[in-house]
């Protein structure tokens, strides 16, 4: 982990987001959010549904604009979406007409990386997410866990320093989910990314992250910011783990 002197990777500075009255998530979704993430830090954002955690992620992604305040990446203001931030969506959002390999190649292809080079890169990432042998399968031929592996590889293909993950394992069964958590930590340790990971599972947040940020709803505010000072791999059944769980759980409910 980087020391306290490191320049922040992501700064969310006094951000509010108001939705127009005619949109489904109408009203004030986020109010005066302050959040600083240092390089290579793994931060989980938890909260009840409707607390604005996905909105926060979309603001960092640049898919939404803040009504007030600003989001900075490496000190530069976020003006829109871009390949310097990799995003993994809850339902994978893989392009169904592309094979696993072609999905991974999508970002580099947009950026004009030559064919051979991007193919080699994509194959390397397919290896990283352990999908060798499945690279020419279409998404509909892959299981939920495999799709998310492809989605992670695709997000990594533009070599972003920031990885944004929106409940990526929320739609998976419990066993696959636990397996994917291990895999994500392995990939994170291999590639050293700054991760912002949205989840509604407290257990998942404690298992994965360096810090858990708890949002409260209506309007979304940062209620608590908990540093998880446990070495990895973590034991879900340890007393320490359960103490964190109790702490976070009681501040949500």
């Amino acid at each position: 982990m980087s020391g306290p002197a490191a320049a922040p990777k992501i700064v969310v500075s006094h951000v509010s987001r108001q939705f127009p009255a005619d949109e489904p998530e109408r009203g004030l979704a986020l109010q005066d959010i302050k959040l600083t993430v240092i390089p290579n830090e793994f931060v989980c954002v938890v909260g009840r549904s409707g607390c604005g955690k996905t909105t926060l992620l979309n603001l960092i992604a640049g898919l939404l604009r803040p009504t007030e305040g600003e989001v900075l990446i490496d000190g530069r203001r976020v003006e829109g979406p871009g390949p310097d931030r990799g995003m993994v969506f809850q339902y994978s959002a893989l392009f169904p007409w592309l094979t696993a390999l072609e999905n991974v190649e999508f970002g580099p292809r947009n950026l004009g990386v030559p064919r051979n080079q991007r193919r080699a890169l994509a194959l390397e990432l397919i290896d990283l997410v352990r999908l060798r042998g499945f690279e020419s399968k279409y998404p509909r031929e892959l299981s939920g866990g495999m799709k998310q592996r492809v989605a992670i590889a695709r997000a990594l293909a533009t070599d972003p320093e920031v990885l944004l993950m929106d409940e990526p394992f929320g739609a998976l069964d419990e066993l696959t989910r636990a397996e994917m958590q291990e895999e994500l930590l392995r990939i994170w340790e291999a590639r050293r990314k700054t991760v912002v990971f949205v989840t509604h599972s407290i257990m998942e947040a404690i298992y994965l992250s360096d810090r858990v940020v708890i949002l409260s709803p209506h309007p979304g505010r940062v209620r608590k910011d908990v540093r998880i000072a446990m070495p990895r791999p973590r034991q879900r059944s340890s007393t320490e783990f359960m103490a964190y769980y109790e702490d976070i759980h009681s501040s949500i409910f």
Partner: protein, 277 residues
Amino acid sequence: MRTSTVASSRSQPPGWSGRTERAVGALTVAVLLAAWELAGRAGVLSAYHFPEPSRLAATIWDLVVVGFPVGVTVWQHVGATAARIVQGYVLAAVLAIPLGLVVGGVRALDQASAPIITFARSVATISLLPLAVAWFGVGELSRVLLIAYGCSWVILTNVIEGVKSVDEELIRAGRMLGSTPRQLFTRVVLPASTPRIFAGMKVALGLAFMVIVGVEMIGTIKGLGALIMEARTFYRSDAAMVGMVFIALFGFALSRLLDRLERVLLPWSGSLEEVER
């Protein structure tokens, strides 16, 4: 009814293979044809209303060798019909696909055009025949344009819907992965809409076959529709039936061809259920 459940391949008894199923289907057809033949020979069915299968077989032979009207063989009828359908259908696709892509992508255009499209689509194409004749004469042009008219609205509607219903998440994913607006269109929106466009093309093909029979009923003696019309004039219900069968076979062959094409071009896509008709 056993026969209908077999044909739709649902609730088949365990152990039934596709081959058994086809055999049962063929057997059913054979039994029905035999019953029809016997009823005709016994005088239960009149030869004018229900010419029996053996007579129809003779008519097919007659149509292939001599032709009806004399000199116009069934292949010339099929050829004339095919030429009209292909021209009208291709014209409709060439106009409606690009237009639909634009209209579907621009909200204001979509809203402005929706009432026009809904109205134009509800006009039964054949009812435009007198107008088409007045504007374009009784020649080939009228026929081709009417087929194009009938097909283009269905294609247009489905292309527009296809573009509009592209999964928002795919667009977000495309934007995060560095797509320019142009790349977003060619690499995300366009491929994402192809199953729906294909579905529209299939419905349009069916429509083309409905329109063709009507537009061939005047001003020509060539074409399967003309064949049926001539048969009616000469009280030849056997020839009319054969014409009908040829239209059905031809339409069936073309739609199978489209299905094949879809499987080759869109191997990633499962069958698409919702289609705008």
